[in-house]
């Protein structure tokens, strides 16, 4: 992609145009792919020789875990865009991604817990992978809370970008926690040296569910970004309207004559 095309696509007005045309198609494709993935999960995938039917929980747990990490990675890149280039869409992208990433991380933790009870005999252990995913959810919550606390958008964008980059340290910890520490959680079985350890009859439906979730998540993200741009437009118009009213309406308390503006009374 040439830099000029990238610049053009990431211009907020252009973004509104191309994303508006793309979102309905992406949404339809996501629904179709989720339907296919669910059909394969429940009617084609055989029960696992150890986990039995419970393996079907993995078809939502793994895509949710991937998206929880994926959206945080995307937010970290956007944070760099905010701090280094002050790109107007970078902060919009980051703000729109946070609730989606948090929701997928929550799904990952709850479905993992529901899988853990019949398989491990417990809903929760303070294992490195589980704990680092819980920390990811807490970071997401912290970021969302910080946005709601700071009223001024530019100040909020910078503060959130710094917090996001600090929290990005957790991403490699999540990925390699199963290698660095002795964990109850199984080691990597899809993305690993020497190829996947999952049988193709189970792997391909899982990859379809991951693709469906990624497409669905991306669609939601684009949709939320469009809404965020509208929210900022509403804010600008509200401030402009308030300033106009302030100029046109007569002052209730007249300025004391002869005193310079900005001088403490």
């Amino acid at each position: 992609m040439t830099p000029s095309l990238w610049t053009r696509l990431s211009n907020p007005s252009h973004f509104m145009r191309w994303s508006g045309a793309l979102v309905p198609w992406l949404a339809a494709l996501s629904v179709g792919l989720v339907g296919l993935g669910l059909y394969l999960t429940f009617f084609v995938v055989p029960p696992d020789y150890q986990q039995g039917e419970t393996v079907r929980i993995m078809y939502i747990h793994v895509p949710a875990a991937w998206l929880g990490v994926f959206f945080y990675g995307a937010m970290s890149l956007s944070a760099i865009g905010t701090l280094v280039w002050r790109h107007p869409l970078a902060d919009v992208a980051q703000r729109a991604a946070a609730p989606i990433g948090a929701a997928f991380t929550l799904i990952c933790l709850v479905t993992g817990s529901l899988w853990g009870k019949p398989m491990w005999g417990t809903y929760w252990v303070w294992d490195a992978r589980l704990t680092s995913m819980l920390i990811l959810l807490l970071i997401y919550c912290g970021i969302i809370a910080l946005w709601r606390t700071l009223e001024e958008p530019n100040r909020a964008a910078r503060a959130v970008a710094i917090l996001t980059l600090v929290g990005a340290v957790n991403l490699p910890i999540i990925k390699f926690s199963v290698n660095w520490w002795s964990t109850l959680h199984q080691p990597a079985s899809i993305l690993r040296m020497g190829g996947s350890t999952i049988d193709p009859s189970m792997l391909y439906p899982l990859l379809i569910m991951i693709a469906a979730a990624t497409l669905g998540g991306t669609t939601l993200h684009l949709y939320a970004m469009r809404t965020e741009i509208m929210r900022r437009r509403v804010r600008t118009l509200t401030i402009r309207e308030a300033e106009r009213l302030d100029r046109t309406q007569p002052r209730l308390t007249p300025k004391p004559a002869g005193m310079p503006v900005g001088q403490p009374v």
């Binding site: 429940f42 039995g52 039917e53 419970t54 939502i60 609730p99 479905t111 899988w115 939320a224 509208m230």
Partner: protein, 47 residues
């Protein structure tokens, strides 16, 4: 379809996911409508 003795856990996992996704999509749509209403109030109608 027989989900075996752990069927309750499987159903609960999918039901929870459906609930969270419905909340996420519902909230996104509600937020979009609110912004569109506000823009309309300013005489702008952008979609």
């Amino acid at each position: 379809m027989d989900l075996g003795s752990h069927g309750g856990f499987i159903v609960a996992a999918y039901a929870f996911t459906a609930l969270v996704m419905a909340g996420l999509i519902g909230n996104a749509v509600r937020d979009r409508r609110a912004q569109l209403r506000a823009l309309k109030g300013f005489g702008e109608d952008r979609r």
